[in-house]
Structures are given as structure tokens and as C-alpha cells.
Amino acid sequence: MQDVVLALLAKEPSHGYELRARLQTALGPLGDELNAGQVYVTLRRLEKAGLVDVRVVGQSDRPDRKVYDLTPAGRDRAAAWLTDLSWERTAPTEFHLKLTAAAASGMADPVALVDAQRRALLRRLAEVRRAAFDQPPGSAAALLLEGASLRLEADLRWLESCAAHWNNRTDEE
């Protein structure tokens, strides 16, 4: 969250409300759980860490507001984050190990675990696709949902391979 807020500030100095609005546009429905408090807490932390500066701007018709800007250190960190190549580790390894352990220990039927996981992923896929349907085509939020959908599709295809693998193992016993 800190890195994201820094990167958003790299465009121009901004206030909390505007940052939140920009995040929500970028994330679409996936940003629904983001509340205003999170953005302000993050900004305060960044300020303490010396990564952003705050300036209070008076407004004639409304209360004063705080405008945040990157310090040189903040700009360095935003640049480092943008070019960092780390990629979220995917869930399948753990699930794969669960199936292996279930089969080895006899504590659970691996095929039943696959079935349960498929139900969960299908429900998630249905949600993501419904959400994508509500987004204007070509929007940033639609692009993010497409990524979520493609990953779920890949996971569902892989689950079918798991089902086939462990189903055959059970038959051989």
C-alpha cells in the first residue's frame, strides 16, 4: 500500500481524497474494500518515514486540506518499486502439497479436495466475470478483472489435471 501511494504521488502532489479516488478507478470492484482511513494512515506513515512532505493549503469556501508531495527519498523508493520484478507466488504449490499429503496419510480424499476447490474457484470466477461485465470495456478496472479471470481459468484447468491424476491413483489401489 505504501509503495502504491508513493507511485500515485509521483504524478503530482495530491490530497488524500483524490488519491483514494484514483486508486478506486484503477482497481474497480476489486478496490471496494479499500476505505478512506487506509489511505490516510498510509500517508501519515510515509510522512513519518520522510518519504512525503505535507503542506496545508487554505481554501476559501471549504476547510483547509493537506496536500502531499514526494520527498527525493520517496521518489527513489517509488522508482525502485516500479522496476522491481517480484511476482506474487501462486497458490498451486501449497494445494499440490495438500493433495500429496492427503493421499499419503489417508486423512482426506484428494479427489474430494479437488472437487471442493473447484466449487470455490468456479464461484470466484463467476463473481469476477459478473464484475467484469459491469465495467466499461477498455477501462483499467476491466483489465485487472481480466487478469483475475485468466488466473482462475488456468487454476480451474489445472484442477482438472489434478482430478484425473488422483482419480487414477485411487483406481489403481
Binding site: 466449487r119 466475470r129 481459468e153 480451474l156 484447468r157
Partner: protein, 228 residues
Amino acid sequence: MEHVLRAEGLRRHFGSGPSLVRAVDDVDLAVAPGETVGIIGPSGCGKSTLLHLLGGLDRPDGGRVLLHGRRLDGLSETAAARVRRTAIGFVFQAFHLVDELTARENVELPALLAGASPREARRRAEHLLGRVGLADRAGHLPGMLSGGQRQRVAVARALVNDPPLLLADEPTGNLDSAAATEVLRLLAELRREGRALVVVTHDPRIAGAADRVVTMRDGALVDETVLV
């Protein structure tokens, strides 16, 4: 509530002795009006055989199929063909269009076979080709169309007699991702207009767009996911 389609204890076996294949083994399935049911499962699990039995394209060795409460499995071949023409629309993975006929003629064909006048068949075909976004391709032969366009012609053909039920066997199986998306959008529209749909598919996107997904393994329905 009356189901559009209902299968009870459906069974279809091939071969015998050690080479016996239980392609469909004691399957119960009920499809409500307007419901979209996805059938998924590994290759060879019996999904296509099941779909053929549901549509009266193949006869079961046991059990029964009821279409709007009337038995489909016991009908003579002629009677079954008549029901298939008017009450069920079929969409196949390989499109199954007649290569020598234009898109419009392919769509008209089942209407003419069901007794519509040439003028009425033409009217419906033009309307449906417009609906699937192919009004300007009506005079093309299938060979001049892309895979996605051919499948959309096939969907238009399946709808020409306005059947309350559509059965589709891997409708996106031969299509690239963009063409599959077009077909997917079309199926979603049919769902919204209240047509019942049973789709056999490997495509998680189609499964994710269904109201209910059943998983088939070794000829049996082994799992179900309700999505709405």
C-alpha cells in the same frame, strides 16, 4: 415446477465384458426453464454421450429422458427427429454447417424442415443473423467465414425454430480466445432471455457463466456447484 428437461437413471454402455465402457452410468439431471447448466469433466468421461442422450441423438440403454414432461427416449426415429427440430437447438464443436449452402441457407434449413414457408424461414434467418452480428455475411459460404463466425451461424441455426432448450457440445472448443469470447457473449444473452441451456465444456469461462455446473467423472455426475 415443470422441468424443461429431465433425465432419470440414464445409462449408456458400450462394449461388453472386460472392455465394457460405462459412458453414462445412472445419471439424474433436471434442467429448470431458463436455467444454464454447465457439464464439465475430463475427456472421455461421457459428457458428449450424455448430451446426445439428452437431445435424443442417441438412445439410452436404461433410464429415461423427459422433455417438458414427455418421454423422448421411447419415440420412433421420425418422431424424435420432429421433436429435435422444434424443441431443441443443437450447437456442436465442429459447427456442422452445410458447406455448399450460404450462412442464410444454413440457418433457414431447420425452419423449412419444420414446415415454415420459404418467406418465413428467410425472415427468421435474416433476423437471427443480424442478432449474431452477421447480417453482412448472410450470402457467404461457411468456407469464407472465420471459426467464430461459423459458430455464430450455427447458434443462429439452432435458434431458428425458437426452441426453449439449447444443447451445446464444446461450443468454443475449436475457437481462439477472441472468437470464444464472442460466442460466450452470445450464450450469455440467450441465458438472459430465459432460454434453457445445457453446455458441455472444457472452457472455465463458459462454466463460470452458468447457473449451475455439474462435474462428470467415469460416466457419473459426481459434483455440483451452484453459481447463482
